[in-house]
């Protein structure tokens, strides 16, 4: 019988506690053999860490995201907040900008301390597991012994999988969404077209454009291609159809250009190259067959795919689910009917919210049971 019964707290909170910070670590050893020293991480937190430090959830952003996950303009603002899927009245939610990024965490646009110039293309090669190892430093810095959950979509899902494989004891649960254990040829192909678009822009200058004119056309083009792959035929028909913006421009053309050039204002072209390379290189199966990687895992899993997602099709999530099931891991899986393609995990969150809420609720109950003594008073 359950020793601990969780009562859902009835709390109406207009505001959530939000913190934004940057922390500097001495060094990070990379898979490529190089060492980054020092290394900075930009992160935000939402809600409050409880006294037992067992209500922390690390949320992992996708390729072009950043640490600003919740609140005004947050990339997962519809999922994180009071009463939402990641309920900040109950949980302490953390999100950091990835290694190689351009939104506060060390990346190719950061200063190389040895030269006093931006790293540009001399920045070392990074991997998804490097990103996760840096996140682990952040979680240790925040003195969180074990995460209640790690969750993210797309590249965020890859990081969640990496966490579950690299630190199985430190994650009670993982929620990888619309993701894969390894990119397919099609996914690599789209990323390569994006990279070529950037490198073909004369303003790219082999990556040495800092302080000058960035390769705006190349980066915007890369982003436009990306946007097409994130949508579905149906969502594009519904959103744009054949409507005209001006007599000689379709709505969809105008939209893609707008999104493409808007992206230039907030994203660094070299980060685009480094991070997409890290995604393409990610392949959990190089470390062993998937079932063996999860052999002794006690982590609970919720995996979600979307019916209209053709960039990360459900078979990729199912490959992971099958591996987990063949080891009788605790895994829940649902292929949600959704219209918005790969973007569904960001925009079509109604059903996703129900799944995540129920799964986290149960995980937290288990975690309280596991913690046993001294957990009855958790944020009553």
């Amino acid at each position: 019988m359950a020793a601990v019964h969780w009562e859902y707290p009835v709390m109406v909170t207009a505001q959530m506690v939000t913190e934004s910070a940057t922390v500097t670590f001495d060094k990070l050893e990379l898979d490529c053999g190089s060492t980054l020293a020092p290394v900075e991480v930009a992160y935000e937190t939402y809600g409050a860490l409880n006294a037992e430090r067992n209500n922390a959830i690390l949320v992992l952003h996708a390729f072009s995201g950043d640490a600003h996950a919740a609140g005004e303009g947050g990339w997962w603002g519809n999922m994180i907040g009071p009463g939402k899927a990641f309920d900040t009245d109950r949980y302490f939610v953390i999100c950091s900008n990835v290694l190689g990024g351009c939104r506060g965490t060390t990346g190719p646009g950061s200063m190389n301390p040895e030269t006093g110039c931006p790293w540009a293309m001399s920045f070392p090669t990074i991997t998804i597991s490097d990103m996760v190892r840096l996140q682990k430093q952040l979680i240790d810095h925040l003195e969180i012994p074990r995460l209640l959950s790690v969750s993210g979509g797309s590249m965020g899902g890859m990081q969640a999988l990496e966490w579950a494989v690299s630190y199985p004891e430190q994650v009670a649960s993982a929620i990888p969404i619309a993701t894969t254990a390894r990119h397919s040829a099609q996914q690599i192909a789209f990323n390569e077209v994006g990279r070529q678009a950037i490198m073909a822009d004369p303003d790219w200058c082999d990556g040495n454009y800092y302080g000058g004119k960035p390769p705006a056309n190349g980066l915007a083009l890369a982003r436009m291609i990306g946007h097409i792959t994130y949508m579905s035929d149906q969502s594009m028909r519904e959103k744009f159809g054949r409507r005209l913006r001006t007599p000689d421009q379709f709505e969809v053309e105008s939209y893609l250009k707008y999104r493409g050039y808007k992206f230039v204002d907030r994203f660094d072209a070299n980060s685009y190259l480094y991070i997409t390379n890290a995604m393409d290189d990610f392949d959990l199966t190089t470390r062993g067959a998937l079932p063996t990687l999860f052999e002794s895992s006690r982590t609970r899993f919720l995996l979600i795919s979307f019916s209209s997602d053709w960039l990360y099709p459900s078979y990729q999530v199912l490959e992971i689910v099958s591996a987990l099931r063949s080891r009788n891991a605790d895994v829940a899986y649902c292929n949600l009917e959704a219209r918005y393609g790969h973007d569904s995990f960001l925009v079509e969150v109604g059903e996703q919210t129900e799944l995540v809420r129920g799964f986290l609720n149960n995980t937290f109950k288990e975690e309280l049971r596991r913690g046993n003594e001294g957990t009855r008073s958790v944020r009553a």
């Binding site: 099958s322 009788n328 605790d330 799944l355």
Partner: protein
């Protein structure tokens, strides 16, 4: 078909499942049974369900439910992964019942199979009287839209168990809201078998 007896199903299956065990529910619907077993028997449960909307409800309920076809899903689990594998009111709907039952007894130490009894007198009378495919409270469908594709009785199941050398450890027969012991093949609406593989 699953919820003919609603919560009474749970009580009967709950009677068969020992506390603190590992349970797989094939065709778990919205996860009500697993949630009930978790709550009352502290089981470590997993579910398989094909219909997306039901899977969503099950997961939202906190049940570890996998969206997939139960006939192939049962093949994927390692041997002896569960103490009990439950198939409630679904055997008559699967394409290859023997394959499913064998799979259940491979991944589980025991199988709990609940099914509507085609030998019930109402079924026999319905067919005798009308000369048409039987329609009863238990089998309410017209023949052209019935999910049921196999029709079998308590005796049929017993015969299969004998042929396959399964050990039947418990039999529970239900008519209306009563358990019965007399003439089950004629009087039972629902039969629940707890079986183990030989040896």
């Amino acid at each position: 078909m699953r919820e003919v007896y609603g919560r009474r199903d749970f009580a009967i299956i709950g009677e068969l499942v020992e506390a603190g065990t590992r349970v797989l529910d094939l065709g778990c619907g919205e996860g009500e049974l697993l949630a009930w077993l978790k709550e009352h028997k502290n089981v470590d449960g997993r579910g398989v369900e094909l219909t997306g909307a039901r899977v969503q409800k099950a997961i939202a309920r906190g049940v570890s439910c996998y969206q997939g076809d139960l006939e192939s899903a049962v093949e994927d689990y390692p041997s002896r992964a569960f103490d009990y594998v439950i198939l409630s009111q679904t055997l008559q709907e699967v394409r290859d019942p023997l394959r499913v039952l064998r799979g259940m007894l491979r991944v589980g130490r025991r199988a709990i199979v609940a099914f509507p009894n085609f030998g019930h007198y109402s079924v026999r009378f319905s067919m005798l009287r009308s000369g048409c495919a039987p329609k009863t409270d238990l089998f309410p469908y017209d023949w052209w839209d019935s999910p049921n594709i196999h029709f079998f009785t308590v005796l049929d199941f017993e015969a299969l168990a004998q042929k396959e050398h399964w050990r039947v450890e418990r039999r529970i027969f239900v008519n209306g809201h009563r358990k019965i012991t007399l003439l089950p093949n004629l009087l039972a609406e629902i039969a629940v078998f707890l079986v183990a593989a030989a040896g």
